[in-house]
């Protein structure tokens, strides 16, 4: 019994012990289970760093894993944990894939600091490169090429060479991706790498082809000759390649095509002769046919890239395929809209008609970001045409009533454009603009008055022949806004309009009243208005002394006018604003006040002499300014955009611009016109993007064009047609399409490697090329420079300093001055 009891006791004790052990184990496990979230590694990585070394050296995979996770958590938090490098390197050859991945990450971070120790790991990599598992091979190669230790450069090249013929496409892709990295590490390896890459160009797997092309662009951007044999195959593969590879391919092929094919417009092809045109087109059409489906890609970067390619390669008549995809991308998200709108704007500037069916898509939505709003309005103003005007005027007039100020101001410029370009809508627009002039928001009313000013001065309104309104009525309406309108800019415009039309019926009857009432309120006016008052006063009093309708009308008010004039200038003399005082002084130099400036009156002949000189130069200035004024103002919008875009260029998602601007037309024109078809493009920093440019294939033997094309045609067909049936099929289709579409295409096309690149999956970018706006900018700049120069000349000769700042900051207050004075002098 006792024995039995003791046995039971022992059993119970055992059971108790066991249960304790079990529960402890469970708790342990549970603890670890709980700890095994990534967050905890971040939280306590520092405190447990002490254990890391022992854990790394311990036998179990699990502890190593924890240790590595801790280390990487520290790395992520920005601590320097390079002291553990030696311990980590020991684990390179560990069996667990997960640990190995982490070790690799660590190596990539610190290998550059600890070059000697990193060399220890290279052996393992070399062994891994020969591993049976493709993933491990790829991973080893990737890490090996990413370790920035120059000493192992040659070893890595060997590995790349070996793996470039690997059976797995994934590995081949990694090999191709390793090439640019190696090149960056040590440019002396270029020749060897070139050899490797040219061996890889025959890549058939769609998975790897993109990487290969990228490597090719990186390694030998000069050797476009290598593309010839692969061109058709790549065209056929374009649809199958993975998305980012498609981008690379499109970019390369575009660059290639720009050097190899004639400009798809009649002038270009006729200069090279009909035969050249016929032989060239099939491949060109093939490429276009291959690029077009990409416009329907789900990847927005690809869409944008393909659209850019089409824009650069296709004849203008075909551009319409681009419109819908671009609009779709624009609507997909705000971020995409941001980027794509810029390219839409460029296409719209080149060929607005393609977007006419989509005008509604560019209507500003309330949720748009300010930049998108602005760009949409720019696009809308580009799309102004008789077809779209009725729709647009209604919509845009609604914007002007909206509460968003920038939209309203932008809408005013669209209205201005409508009025200028579509005669039927001129009066509608003018009426909306006049309504706006009494808007409470100063910028809006100023913009509206400015638009009215421009419309009245440049003769648009006169041409539109308003039925129910005469110029007199209109000016009355404008002048009456002075009672309601508060904005400084708008009032200034009204006054300068009154001065402008002083000789008209309105001027004869009312200008003196306008002047009188405004001088009375002189003190309360804004700066620009005050200046305009002075100017109006000067104009009137000078005109009264001469002959003309105004002089007749004001004959009996001359003394009153001169008193008002003197009063205005006295006020201006003690004005708080430096600029107003300055302006008063300069105007006084032109038109001395009787009774005050007797000294100047004595010197009058001298002043008059100078004034007549001014007349001469001012005339040319007016000619220069009045003519391009519409262009200039609209252009200046695009000028602003241009500045924006230059500002955006450095952003990673807008890389395509600079090389494109370099790679302009001459290349194609040269190909079309004869043997010297090498465009010597300025090489910009990005060698890759210039890929296409330097050397077309027959650099060595500059024969005549036909022979050159012949040979191109021949070797391409002979080499490629047999081994890829799809290419042939597409080729035939292309032939068909080319016969009807390409032969009579009319376009000015530009040359460029268009490219775009979304540097990460979230942000899409499009690289439409900004040649148009570039040109615009240039023109505008030169215009501006010229004008500024002229202005400066005048200033110098006159030694009057008209406010230069005012000129620059408020560009549309400046012009009326000079126009006004010149008119006056006439």
């Amino acid at each position: 019994m006792a024995e039995y009891l003791s046995r039971a006791m022992a059993f119970a004790q055992d059971a108790a012990k066991l249960s304790v052990r079990l529960s402890e184990g469970l708790v342990d496990n549970a603890l670890e289970f709980g700890l095994d979230t990534p967050g905890s590694f971040y939280d306590n990585a520092e405190y447990k760093l002490g254990q890391v070394r022992t854990e790394l050296n311990s036998g179990t995979e699990k502890e190593k894993l924890t240790a590595m996770k801790r280390l990487l958590a520290c790395v992520a938090k920005g601590h320097d944990v390079s002291e553990y490098f030696a311990d980590v390197v020991k684990n390179v050859a560990t069996g667990s894939l997960e640990v190995r991945r982490l070790v690799y990450m660590y190596l990539l971070r610190y290998a550059e600091q600890e070059q000697d120790l990193a060399l220890l790991s290279v052996n393992t990599f070399q062994r891994d490169v020969a591993d049976t598992d493709a993933v491990i091979r790829a991973m080893a190669l990737r890490v090996m090429s990413s370790i920035r230790v120059p000493a192992i450069g040659t070893i890595v090249v060997l590995a790349v060479r070996r793996l470039s013929t690997d059976t797995s496409a994934h590995v081949r892709r990694t090999a191709a991706l390793a090439v640019p990295k190696l090149l960056r590490l040590d440019s002396a390896l270029r020749e060897e790498l070139e050899e490797v890459v040219s061996g890889m160009l025959g890549e058939i797997s769609p998975l790897a082809v993109g990487a290969v092309v990228r490597a090719f662009c990186e390694v030998s951007p000069q050797r476009l000759a290598c593309v010839h044999t692969h061109f058709r195959r790549w065209c056929a593969q374009l649809g199958d390649a993975d998305e980012w590879g498609q981008l690379e391919l499109v970019r390369l092929l575009t660059a290639y095509a720009r050097t190899q094919f004639a400009q798809p417009d009649p002038e270009g092809s006729s200069s090279s002769g009909q035969s050249g045109n016929v032989w060239l087109d099939p491949d060109h059409a093939l490429l276009l046919g291959a690029v077009e489906p990409l416009l329907n890609s789900r990847n927005r970067a690809v869409v944008a890239g393909a659209a850019a390619a089409v824009c650069h390669l296709a004849p203008a008549a075909q551009l319409s395929v681009v419109a819908r995809p671009l609009v779709r991308v624009m609507r997909s998200s705000h971020e995409a809209a941001h980027v794509v709108l810029a390219s839409i704007l460029l296409v719209a500037q080149r060929r607005p008609s393609v977007f006419y069916p989509h005008v509604r898509s560019f209507f500003v939505a309330a949720a748009d970001t300010p930049f998108v709003r602005r760009m949409k309005l720019h696009v809308l103003s580009e799309l102004v045409a008789p077809e779209t005007a009725p729709l647009m005027v209604r919509e845009v007039a609604a914007y002007t009533q909206g509460s968003q100020e920038d939209v309203a101001v932008g809408a005013v410029s669209v209205l201005l454009r409508c009025a200028q370009h579509v005669q039927e809508s001129t009066i509608d627009c003018l009426q909306s603009l006049l309504l706006l002039s009494s808007d409470v928001r100063a910028p809006v009313s100023a913009a509206a008055m400015r638009a009215v000013h421009i419309l009245l001065v440049d003769g648009t309104v006169r041409d539109a022949r308003p039925a129910q309104m005469t110029l007199y009525d209109m000016l009355c309406v404008v002048a009456r806004t002075l009672d309601t309108c508060k904005g400084d800019g708008a009032r200034a415009h009204v006054l300068s309009l009154v001065g402008e039309f002083a000789e008209s019926r309105f001027g004869c009857q009312h200008s003196l009243d306008v002047l009188r009432s405004s001088v009375r309120a002189f003190r309360d006016e804004g700066e620009q208005t005050r200046m305009q008052i002075l100017e109006l006063s000067t104009r009137l009093s000078l005109r009264v002394q001469g002959e003309g309708a105004l002089a007749e009308a004001l004959r009996e008010h001359t003394s009153f006018l001169s008193k008002v004039h003197a009063h205005a200038f006295t006020l201006a003399r003690y004005d708080v604003s430096f600029e107003v005082r300055d302006r008063a002084r300069s105007l006084r130099g032109l038109c001395p006040l009787p009774g005050y400036d007797d000294a100047l009156v004595e010197a009058a002949p001298h002043v008059l002499a100078i004034a007549s000189e001014l007349l001469g130069s001012a005339e040319s200035l007016v000619a220069a300014r009045v003519r391009p004024e519409p262009e200039f103002t609209l252009g200046s919008l695009s000028l602003t955009v241009g500045r924006k875009m230059r500002g955006y260029e450095p952003l990673p998602d807008w890389p395509a611009q600079p090389p494109q601007n370099v790679d302009r037309g001459p290349a194609v024109v040269a190909v079309a016109s004869g043997p010297q078809h090498i465009a010597v493009a300025g090489i910009s920093g990005r060698a890759r993007a210039d890929a296409g440019y330097a050397t077309p294939r027959s650099t060595a033997d500059d024969e005549d064009l036909d022979a050159f094309l012949d040979s191109a045609e021949d070797d391409a067909t002979v080499l490629k047609a047999p081994f890829l049936p799809p290419a042939a099929v597409v080729f035939e289709q292309a032939l068909e399409s080319s016969s009807d579409e390409y032969s009579d295409s009319d376009s000015e096309s530009e040359v460029s490697g268009s490219e775009s690149e979304g540097s990460n999956s979230g942000s899409e970018s499009s690289g439409l090329d900004s040649d148009e706006s570039g040109d615009h900018d240039k023109i505008n700049e030169t215009v501006v420079i010229k004008q500024v120069k002229e202005v400066n000349d005048i200033k110098d000769s006159e030694t009057l300093d008209a406010d230069k700042d005012g000129e620059e900051t408020s560009p549309f207050i400046g012009p009326p001055d000079f126009e006004g004075t010149s008119k006056y002098w006439q």
């Binding site: 699990k62 998975l207 980012w244 329907n296 939505a365």
Partner: protein, 304 residues
């Protein structure tokens, strides 16, 4: 995962299924097994992607073979204060969820496919078949994916929900009326209606009246009123929301004068796109199919 996706600044792989093949997905199940048994289950499904369809692994097995199609139309519209549609556009997505074994080849036939323009497909779709006879032939990736997104070229403008906005100035404030009225929905209910009305930043003393639904008033720097209606039947009469508020005298800042509306109409398709047939080729098992339609508001705004 990121290291597989991006290699030295160059985007490489972004396809979900390929990535899943390369990087083992940590799962709770795996972790439990690991902790209990003590060894890792994260062995790699080695080199699964086949050559001709990189988005699908070779050996996929499911006990039930199901394929679900979800067709969602999104209406983008701008309605102005007089109730006319300034902009109206219908876009849509065909999302699928596939749980099929082996290497199935599916052919989907859509009703009224001619009305679709600008269709964007998942790379698995054979584009040629679409161009010739408007059928969608594809080898589906496993799991959920977006088969296509489309834009509907149609001139008719049916609105499942008519929303009108009107704003009036009172002597020291504003009154905003928003009315909601069921439109053509094929006698289905419109659900989850949410009307967000951003107000002027100077607004204070905001008062809201509405007969049905709930509303939330936010009075922060960007005051707004959010009005939620659970559902409206096709036969219901119109519902009205009235917001009154006063304006502080402060400089006006940028504000939007539009209401943003979201809603859902399950079971109704504005574009009347239908899945006519879904055939399974190359595999012998029986396929369970499910199709679901719905219409949603994309960016739907009402100006006032």
């Amino acid at each position: 995962l990121l290291s597989e996706m991006v290699d030295s600044g160059q985007v490489v792989t972004t396809d979900m299924s390929v990535l899943r093949g390369l990087v083992p997905v940590p799962s709770l199940m795996g972790r439990v097994i690991e902790n209990v048994s003590g060894f890792s289950t994260n062995t790699l499904a080695s080199s699964t992607a086949s050559h001709d369809a990189p988005w699908r692994a070779r050996s996929i097995r499911h006990t039930t073979n199901e394929f679900f199609v979800d067709i969602v139309d999104r209406i983008d519209a701008i309605v102005d204060s007089s109730g006319t549609c300034v902009m109206y556009d219908v876009m849509g997505d065909i999302s699928c969820k596939s749980r099929l074994s082996g290497m199935p080849h599916l052919v989907m036939t859509l009703g009224r496919a001619r009305e679709l323009d600008d269709v964007v497909f998942h790379p698995c779709v054979v584009r040629r078949a679409w161009d010739t006879d408007r059928t969608i032939g594809f080898v589906p990736p496993d799991g959920p994916f977006k088969l296509a997104s489309y834009h509907v070229a149609q001139s008719l403008r049916s609105m499942p929900l008519r929303v009108l906005g009107e704003a009036r100035c009172t002597e020291n404030g504003m009154t905003v009326h928003v009315t909601v009225e069921p439109g053509e929905t094929g006698s289905r209910r419109v659900e989850n209606i949410r009307v967000r009305v951003p107000l002027d930043s100077r607004a204070y003393n905001i008062g809201v009246q509405c007969k049905s639904g709930t509303h939330i008033v936010t009075t922060s720097r960007h005051p707004q009123v959010e009005w939620t209606l659970d559902s409206i039947h096709a036969t219901d009469s119109l519902v009205r929301l009235v917001i009154q508020y006063s304006l502080r005298s402060a400089p006006q800042t940028d504000s939007t004068d539009a209401a943003f509306v979201t809603f859902e109409v399950p079971g109704y398709s504005v574009s009347s796109i239908k899945v006519d047939a879904l055939r399974l080729l190359r595999e012998s098992y029986k396929l369970f199919k499910g199709v679901r339609y719905s219409t949603m508001a994309g960016s739907f705004q009402v100006r006032f």
